[in-house]
Amino acid sequence: MLKFLIEKEFKQLARHSFLPKLIIVMPCVMLLVMPWVANHEVKNVNVCLVDNDHSALSSRLAQKVSSSAYFNLSATASGYSEAMQSIESGKADLILEVQPDFERRLVREGEAEVMLSVNAVNGVKGGLGSSYLLNIVNDYAAELRSEQLPYMGAAASGSFQLQASYFFNPSLNYKAYMVPALMVLLITLLCGFLPALNIVSEKESGTIEQLNVTPVGKLTFVIAKLIPYWIVGFITISFSFALAALLYNLTPVGSFGTIYVFIGVYILALSGFGLVISNYSNATQQAMLVAFFFIMILVFMSGLFTPVSSMPQWAQNITIFNPLKYFMQVMRMVYLKGSSVAELTPQLLALCGFAVFSNTWAMLSYKKVR
């Protein structure tokens, strides 16, 4: 009985006007476009310089800023209010204002001032941009000191070195971080939405009635609905593994086997929830809206774009019930750290729990009699 039902689901899927294309196009778009977009790196900050001093030292500072990878010296202005215009029009993100007697005070009084005004609408960009600029200003001062005060020696420039290094991903490859997570997003959209739309579309076309008068059991029904998405999910993910390797030269440090184990469980868990939504919906539009609502919350709270650890405690508590979070962790850990199933046992147990829960619910909420 099961065989025939699964056969039917596949035929319908293959004959659909849109879905087969989607299954091919979506991984391509997702992996071609998104990795280029999804990074918070603060680079190319546009600086507007207000040099009220016009001295050798002030232009040296300007040069130092513009030679940094983080900043572009995009504009100069004769005064603060003129500079503000470039902030308001979006031409600059940051104003660096050098006071009129900068050089004289630096030489005579030993201390001079610069003023940074940062467009902080985007708080992180503002915060990081200003801290990078501060570092440049400090380096600049240290350079001057070692030139001007050679008698004091390196030591007396009163300095210490600051080194930064990065573990697991030393070249700070954002793509290595985003691509595995984007695969999770891909699977989630496909295997979450499509089952949500499936049963409800049979309700709309009336074919569900015909199935309901047959002896098809609830379990058989749910399994027949799940397996096609399971297989579609496996194909899609394998396709995206290939794309990731080809486009970004990314392969997991850990084993594919580990990933496939988790994908198997994850798709079951997710499609189960999709079927639950479908069971409770009366119309495609409604099912889509409900699915969209929940998937949106799950995605935003999964750590895909922003780390879970920077959420407040109450929000972190909610993410305990987010299957996406676990699978996201798994993909990143296997891809970047090479974790194995043994190290990922908590995640595996959590996902198995979700799978059992959602599919039991899907089975119980499928009503043959109303």
């Binding site: 006007s17 790196e41 308001e88 201390e111 001032e113 467009n119 609408v121």
Partner: protein, 376 residues
């Protein structure tokens, strides 16, 4: 045509509009979600989701244990970004604590740190970040370096070493560096396009699918009136959502409307109009509800989330994507909202955005009417 019939044939048909409202109100579940969506998003983005780093877990390896290292460690701990939770007994332990995932950043001081600052000049502080998440790693080292830089300035000032450059930092518009200031305009751009475009597209396509569209088309109602009646309810819903978002952001997130409310409203209405037009265009291009949903989510949602500058800065993207982002209406709307709402600039400052959105509205409306006429 007799004047008597003209009223029936005008583009505003009250009966049809009432019918559309009935569709929406009858489906309580969908309506609840449509109304709750902005509330949930504002709460999520206002409170839960932030790319700001707070209380990151820090481990310190300090073989010197002198005044300088103690003071620096205290400084780091006092920052809202960091919590020093661990003291390592060797630098090699860093690898272990990272593997276990217990800390995000390790600070390693060199031996005789305080003494060497003045004696050999070879004192070092090493910041090692877990770069599994490069975004977070860079943010963390950025914040930590600026704490250390401040400390360096202090040292120099204490000893009156000459040639010091003091920097005074002034955070414009958002002195507290709150994430909400950036997200609120983004959420507005996203919600409005979702409800307007996606829902309109789906509800038009549903009538095509069930065949009721044909019934309406053979009636003396003008196709224009038909489309118009689809747009009105979603327009109304969007306005309700707009009000909800603004009230929530002002009273719950404390993000003020610093500019003219009138200007902001006008800009938003224009954007809603663009979204409705986009929804209509999609509905003329696809045949099934599922296709309408997927097309609008692929063509609208993802670009809005990714290319509008809501979550990720647009200036780092490759040129082709930057170009692509300029055809996303939300990008212009969000830029306009930032100016009018957050930065408090006059309407004149966002003339460019308004012009682009108007142009898009005209182009989209023309395209979808032309498509509709060709079909029937």
């Amino acid at each position: 045509m007799a004047t008597k019939n003209n009223r029936r044939l005008s583009i505003i048909n009250y009966q049809l509009i009432v019918k559309e409202f009935r569709h929406i109100f009858r489906d309580t579940r969908s309506m609840l979600i449509l109304l709750a969506m902005p509330v949930v998003q504002i709460i999520l983005f206002g409170f839960a989701i932030t790319n700001e780093v707070k209380n990151a877990q820090v481990a310190v390896f300090d073989p010197s244990k002198d005044a300088a290292t103690t003071r620096l460690t205290e400084r780091i701990h006092a920052s809202r970004h960091f919590d020093v939770v661990w003291h390592l007994s060797s630098a090699a332990e860093a690898g272990e604590v990272f593997k276990e995932g217990r800390v995000n950043l390790v600070v390693v001081f060199s031996e005789n740190f305080g003494e060497n600052i003045w004696r050999t000049g070879e004192a070092t502080v090493q910041l090692i970040a877990d770069a599994t998440d490069p975004n977070q790693a860079v943010t963390l080292t950025g914040y930590a370096s600026s704490i250390i830089a401040d400390y360096r300035q202090e040292l120099l000032a204490e000893r009156s070493i000459p040639i010091r450059v003091k920097a005074q930092v002034n955070m414009l518009y958002n002195p507290q560096l709150q994430g909400a200031y950036n997200f609120v305009p983004g959420v507005m751009g996203m919600i409005l396009i979702l409800i307007c475009a996606m829902m309109t597209a789906i509800s038009v396509v549903r009538e095509k699918e069930t065949g009721t569209m044909d019934v309406l088309l053979v009636s003396p109602v003008k196709p224009l009136a038909l489309i118009f009646s689809k747009l009105v309810p979603y327009f109304a819903l969007s306005v309700v959502n707009l009000i909800t978002i603004l009230l929530l952001s002002v009273y719950v997130l404390n993000v003020p409307v610093s500019g003219s409310l009138l200007g902001l409203t006008a800009l938003s209405l224009l954007y809603i109009f663009v979204s409705l037009a986009l929804g209509m265009l999609i509905s003329t291009l696809v045949a099934t509800q599922v296709a309408a949903m997927l097309a609008s989510s692929m063509a609208l949602m993802l670009p809005v989330m990714l290319l509008s500058g809501m979550m990720f800065p647009t200036e780092n993207m490759p040129a082709i994507l930057q170009w692509l982002s300029s055809i996303v209406p939300a990008r212009w709307y969000i830029a306009g909202v930032k100016k009018l709402m957050i930065e408090g600039l006059p309407i004149a400052s966002s003339l460019k955005e308004i012009a682009i959105l108007s142009l898009m509205a005209v182009a989209l409306m023309t395209a979808s009417f032309r498509k509709l006429k060709n079909e029937h």
